[in-house]
Subunit: 271 residues, 2 copies
């Protein structure tokens, strides 16, 4: 699959006055396409449109987005990234009236994560960088991602497969590009994403799969030390699904029965 | 003056894979040009390059930037906005090796703020929105500005000329697009910008002008209620210089002698 980039439905570039560049004034989704369809497209679009509503980005039409995305899907596995910005504005934080949103669609081939991430688990390090807290931005997959960029450099330098990010108050938020789940005495726990972090599509799928499987699950505040007495630990996103954690900061974790059950269940769930 | 937009030195558009769009992975400066030169260009470039260093954006050449900016200055007053992003990357937070930074230069005419902002002062309201805290990002004029976008909508709805922004802990950070100064018993105070906010060029000029004028000044933590017993209050940025505050949340302030002295001093200082 060649890389395909479409700006407002056509090959092209972006106006330098776009507020996506100026202020990160927009949102994105990163989606997995397999067999010519996007997995969990409804959930991706629901989150995107919720973000538009929270940011006051008007004029995004769900049916057009859906048509544009599905018109260009290859049959081989691909990553489909969709960016929606508020549109063009000359200068100043205040959005001009009558902004027309900009759509950027990028489709690239996808070779997946290494198989041993799933069979043996991944290594995770807690990052020094802390995430700022802002309930007005929490949950959205918006374009203000400098914290994640800085964290990614820290993770690369550590040699780990993924980083664990805490907020300013020391609570667990998630991984560098994943959500985090803890299994403790058969119960599933995940950070509540009220002040930092992204409410991942795969996080939603896993919580639903837990309900279907009769596994007790809770969205809650988690201190870093709550992970030390976890029985199982895993991270999620829409590309990687569920990856078990085999080591966090030198402490070993087994790939346990709850993780395995959810891995099977998520893989079987249709999107 | 017509609007002029240059991308990497030429009229054109931006690659949709630019990390400035994807993650707000870059910085900007908004500068005032008068009589064919930029005021305080050295300070603007110093802040920009410090930000590049903090974010690990390599390959920005100060001399080329300086030449490019000054090559296109009109003789009439203009706003010169310079954006520098990390450059193009296909996908993923981690910066690819060998990124070439993208430069966007925008020049537009400038008619100034209303005269009564200077003669009578402006009206300010404290925003509901709180700014997240992150020492790793504080001070820089980076492209992650969704908080300021949301605040600008709140300010517009309030009908005030500017907003006052507090951080998550309740400390004063600054205005929506300004820094804030307090005069109390002849002393000048301004928030220290260690956890949120932008370290403004005009803020730096004012602090230097205070030293030159023998006015005692301190960068410090300021609670919101510290503004209630202020004798004078003003806001600053590189376009508006010093604007006195005549009202904050219904409380009236006089345009006092320290503010007047600094207004004169800053206006006379060469950039």
């Amino acid at each position: 699959v060649e890389n395909l980039w479409l700006v407002n439905g056509r090959p092209g570039q972006v106006d330098p006055a776009d507020r996506g560049i100026a202020y990160g004034d927009g949102l994105f989704e990163t989606m997995l396409a397999r067999d010519g369809r996007i997995r969990w497209l409804d959930y991706h679009l629901a989150r995107l449109l919720d973000g538009c509503s929270r940011l006051g980005i008007d004029g995004v039409d769900e049916q057009s987005l859906r048509a544009e995305i599905t018109a260009h899907l290859p049959s081989r596995p691909a990553v489909v990234k969709l960016i929606v910005t508020r549109g063009v504005g000359i200068r100043g934080y205040r959005p001009p009236h009558g902004c027309e949103p900009t759509r950027i669609l990028a489709i690239s081939s996808w070779s997946g994560y290494p198989a041993d991430h799933y069979t043996s688990g991944i290594r995770v390090r807690t990052c020094e960088l802390r995430l700022g807290e802002n309930p007005r931005l929490a949950g959205m997959k918006h374009l203000n991602r400098l914290e994640q960029v800085l964290a990614s450099k820290e993770i690369e330098a550590s040699g780990a497969d993924e980083g664990l990010l805490l907020d300013t108050s020391g609570r667990v938020v998630g991984g560098g590009s994943t959500n985090v789940f803890v299994v403790r005495r058969g119960r599933l726990l995940t950070p509540s994403i009220e002040r930092s972090g992204i409410r991942g599509v795969m996080r939603r799928i896993v919580l639903e799969a837990a309900v279907a499987a009769g596994i007790d699950s809770t969205e809650t505040e988690l201190e870093r030390n709550a992970l030390d007495d976890a029985d199982e630990l895993f991270v999620t996103n829409a590309l990687s699904f569920i990856r078990p954690v085999r080591e966090l900061d030198g402490r070993a974790y087994a790939i346990g029965p709850v993780t395995r059950q959810l891995m099977t269940s998520v893989d079987e769930r249709h999107g």
